[in-house]
């Protein structure tokens, strides 16, 4: 490919939106409109003739490089099959506090954990594991959080009372810890039902 076509390829790849032909001209002031059009044609042909997984199309008000439709299904499938993400240790701790203390406000959770939990609450809300259940008294009437039905479902609980009481916790931990040996639960499917299997200890990985 000629160097203008390479430049256009790089720009189209890096741009978050389709780029109209006039804007592409800004990339190289020395190139004429005709030269740009020719380079775009060269790029398109290269993708088509040479056999690429992507193609150059003009749509949405400009030029863009798109994945060829025949591959989208495989890519989407692969994304779903990617190892399920896990909650970070910090998120789990906040979730635990909310489960046991609901309804509870952000300030109180932050106080128990010793760090701000704004971002964590946001992500737990987005995942549908907690929700705003009430407003507290006092200044600004803070939002109070509680767990959702999805929370119960994810942890295979029928109701909140099924959570062990704090004084039973040590026993519950011993029980669930006993069948832990592999901390790499490369589960092909989410399978939250299989509750007390891989404790994964605190190898809890990066949040999504």
């Amino acid at each position: 490919m000629n160097s203008l076509a390479k430049l256009l390829e790089a720009a189209l790849f890096a741009s978050p939106r389709p780029i109209p032909a006039e804007e592409l001209a800004v990339l190289d002031e020395d190139s004429s409109k005709a030269a740009i059009a020719a380079a775009l044609e060269e790029l398109r042909e290269h993708y088509d003739v040479d056999g690429h997984g992507v193609e150059l199309v003009e749509q949405g008000g400009g030029w863009q490089i798109l994945t060829r439709p025949e591959y989208t299904e495989a890519i989407e499938r692969a994304q779903m099959a990617v190892r399920p993400s896990r909650l970070s240790a910090a998120a789990l701790e906040s979730l635990a506090i909310i489960a046991y203390r609901q309804p509870i406000g952000r300030a109180e959770i932050a106080e128990i954990r010793g760090v701000d939990v704004g971002a964590i609450l946001k992500s737990l809300l987005e995942r549908g594991l907690i929700e705003v259940t009430a407003r507290g008294e006092g200044l600004g009437r803070p939002l109070l959080y509680g767990t959702t039905p999805l929370f119960l479902e994810m942890f295979a609980l029928r109701h909140l009372e099924e959570l062990p009481r704090v004084d039973e916790l040590a026993i519950a931990l011993r029980r669930s810890g006993s069948d832990t040996e592999s901390d790499a639960p490369a589960l092909p499917e989410p399978a939250p039902k299989a509750a007390p299997d891989a404790v994964g200890a605190s190898a809890v990985a990066v949040p999504a």
Partner: protein, 248 residues
């Protein structure tokens, strides 16, 4: 190594950008740059000279109020003083007062080397764009979550361990017990003429106990029932029974 001065690489200001106001990234950076400028041997730093220059640069750069620089200045002065103390050839246990400083400087210098490496690699990466947009796939669905009850319970346990008392949010204000502490101090001094701080305060004392003991000591000193002395800075405080006070 490239220049340690951030102004050569300060880059463009950005929202989350940490602006470094001082010309140096801290006292160790300044010290290292002095050593380099003067081509000194890091293992045999002429401490009097470097100390003088450090103070001069601090003044020049208007760093006189920066706690970190002040602390380093104090440290240098102390090392300088220790170097002046006479010592005997046979003094086996003598340790070069500069040793700790040299260790920290070497450690800092190694870290600077890593910074240079990160800087080169980071600059290289900054010059390449990744794919910014994936139009054929709508916002990818969030990857499913892998959760287990056991994990949650372990988290509960961690929280409980981190917070000794779960009811930490309703802290009961604990009044100081100065009278109790006075009784303890008096009891200790009844047994021996001199005592140390450790003798009147438990090693695992809670803040209110420490404060109570401190106030008790000051109170008793005021009443001339004991005398407090600290022979050297940072050394243990000596608590001595004052006979005059007892007589009074």
């Amino acid at each position: 190594m490239t220049s340690p001065r951030p102004d050569t690489r300060a880059g463009e200001p950005q929202a989350t950008f940490v602006v470094e106001l001082a010309a140096f990234n801290g006292p160790l950076d300044l010290l290292l740059s002095l050593i380099r400028d003067e081509k000194l041997d890091i293992y045999d730093i002429p401490i009097a000279r470097i100390c003088e220059q450090f103070l001069a640069r601090m003044h020049e750069l208007a760093l006189n109020d920066a706690a970190e620089y002040l602390e380093m200045a104090a440290r240098l002065l102390r090392i300088k003083a220790l170097m002046l103390l006479p010592r005997h050839e046979s003094d086996e246990g003598w340790e070069d007062p500069r040793a700790e400083l040299v260790r920290r400087l070497l450690e800092y210098q190694q870290m600077r080397e890593v910074v240079d490496l990160l800087e080169r690699r980071g600059e290289d990466r900054r010059n390449r764009f990744a794919r910014a947009w994936s139009p054929t796939l709508m916002a990818p669905p969030q990857a499913p979550l892998a959760l287990s009850l056991a994990e949650l319970l372990v988290a509960v346990d961690r929280v409980l361990r981190a917070v000794k008392k779960p009811g930490m949010h309703d802290v009961v204000p604990r009044a100081l017990d100065v009278d109790g502490a006075i009784a303890i101090v008096k009891a200790v001094l009844a047994l021996r003429a001199t005592a140390r701080w450790r003798d009147v305060v438990r090693a695992d004392a809670e803040p209110w106990e420490v404060l109570s003991a401190l106030l008790a000591l000051l109170e008793l000193a005021k009443r001339s029932e004991l005398k407090l002395a600290q022979p050297r800075p940072f050394s243990d405080v000596e608590i001595r029974r004052e006979l005059a006070g007892e007589a009074a």
